[in-house]
Amino acid sequence: MRISIQEAPFDLGQEADQFAAGRVDMGAIVTFTGVVRNSAKGDLAAMEIEHYPGMTEKAIEAIAQQAKDRWSLGDVMVIHRYGRLVPGDKIMMVATASPHRVDAFEAAEFLMDYLKSRAPFWKKEFAADGADWVAAKDEDEDALSRW
């Protein structure tokens, strides 16, 4: 179980390859990668991600452990960046490996839903008309109720 909270960029391809390497017991590998999306107006200059060192790691470990308890998973990986990012930058990545595709998919979605609303990260967007903290969406909170 690899969990990394880091300021540095990560290499999607390399992470996916390393995660998948040498598995003969896991038929299904799912990755999710989050990318900084430009605003509808196309004027997002940057995003800053703040987090709560110490709590972040614990919260993500607890979420990953819940996923392992609930689905048949051979392995789980979570990478989440903090600091300054620009549109197109990769923010975060989760990966799951399972004997079965449904488990790999569901666990990855579960991890994403919980990371969105239960891991202590906050995003601030810097656009042409100023800087604003991203507001939590009701739909993200609602997404937790399906698990």
């Binding site: 989050g34 110490g54 975060m92 990371l115 609303s117 202590p120 990260f121 906050w122 903290w133």
Partner: protein
Amino acid sequence: MDVLYFAWVRERIGLPKERIETTAATVAELVEELKAREERYEAAFADLSALRVAVDQELTDFDAPLAGVREVAFFPPMTGG
């Protein structure tokens, strides 16, 4: 205990962390104490429904007890992922 602020809570209060000596029994009592201090705390804690709290790095709610607690953190709903 250490009290930490994140995101716009940190910005409104104007600092990320402070050491507070308190006899407050719960998080809610601590919040009342802070609000009574200064305008900027009053502004930050005006709407508790817009805030989340962690005690010793675990999410909890405002009636959580503070006995033996080392660290309390206030912040808006998380927006990770």
